[in-house]
Symmetry: C2
Amino acid sequence: MDVDEPGLRARLVAAGVDLVLREGQSAVSLREIARRAGVSHGAPRRYFPTHVDLLSAIAREGFADLTARVEQTMRVVDADPRTRLTALARTYLDYAAAHRGMFELMFRHDLLDSGRLRLRETSLPLFAVLADLVAQLRRPTDAPAPVLAGALWANLHGIAQLWAWGSLPLATGAADDDALLRATLDAHLGPTLT
Amino acid sequence: MDVDEPGLRARLVAAGVDLVLREGQSAVSLREIARRAGVSHGAPRRYFPTHVDLLSAIAREGFADLTARVEQTMRVVDADPRTRLTALARTYLDYAAAHRGMFELMFRHDLLDSGRLRLRETSLPLFAVLADLVAQLRRPTDAPAPVLAGALWANLHGIAQLWAWGSLPLATGAADDDALLRATLDAHLGPTLT
DNA sequence: ACCGGAGGTAGACACCGTCTACGACGGCTG
DNA sequence: CAGCCGTCGTAGACGGTGTCTACCTCCGGT
């Protein structure tokens, strides 16, 4: 038998992650999670006193997943900073597109306990990776490094969000998001020389 | 007596707008709206068969409001395109900051009936204003106009979103959003010459 | 005068988050 | 070994929600 079968808490979170990926944030109810974990509707309360706590735990899992993917990308793409940054951006956009429900949840600050649960801190290392690359690529005439990195992140995030919503395809006439990504990187970091 | 007091439908939407501005999207329930309009809980159903329909109507009001503000800005700021675009961007960011709940709702495509109700189309004129200004400012080496406009919009939107969430202030070390806005415009449209 | 539909009421249903009291069980203390 | 107490899960209740349905009430057209 499993010597270390996951505890109920982990099973609840896993069920929640599965549910949010499959059906989106609104499908994640405490009772449904309990049902999927095969426990009574009151059981989750032991680990997640409130709905927000559960959603926050799920979102944290999402951040961990995204961070892992980015780090994996950084491990694989061992080239010049610009190439690495491009790969990072692609990973970000791909994640948002492939895990729309989770991505949406991750940035629903109104649903998350962003304060107490150090949810923001969970996303900081990710930003640090980006900021580091940006710092290497920054030209003297550019904005200060934190501002430059922030603006670039916002741009990435906006593309991910609006693209997922279907607004950008509509507005830009269905150009693929790769064109947007290239334009964004060129804008903030200068055109590539090829 | 009022010859044309607003019908129930308008009163419901007005109550919803008020509620979403004051308390956020999650506070907007059909029953609460009905209560505020002084009608029975089943009454809204006559006009909004489903919750989504009500939220969509409220969001449409938000888009109308934002569009009106942008147009007002365009009417007032009658200068060179770059200045006008900057003013437009500020209007966008200010709206998001000042009407956070509404802004959030407007881009919650999962909550909105974005397909049938032509919600996207409601936002297209707004994008057109931006696209027009961008087209005037586009340099020959820039990306095609629609892509450039899309990227810039995404950047604006990302700033609005992440700023409202509090992530960007944290990441950039509390630089104000004006620095981000300037950096963004400079990046996409070239630095101003001053 | 009648009738028919539009517009609002009221009750029911299932589901939800939350609270509370309760039972089972296992490890520590005496 | 007996007893106790804290941990973990159960089960029921409450108020709130969206949705459905049956009803009622009035007003306009024939």
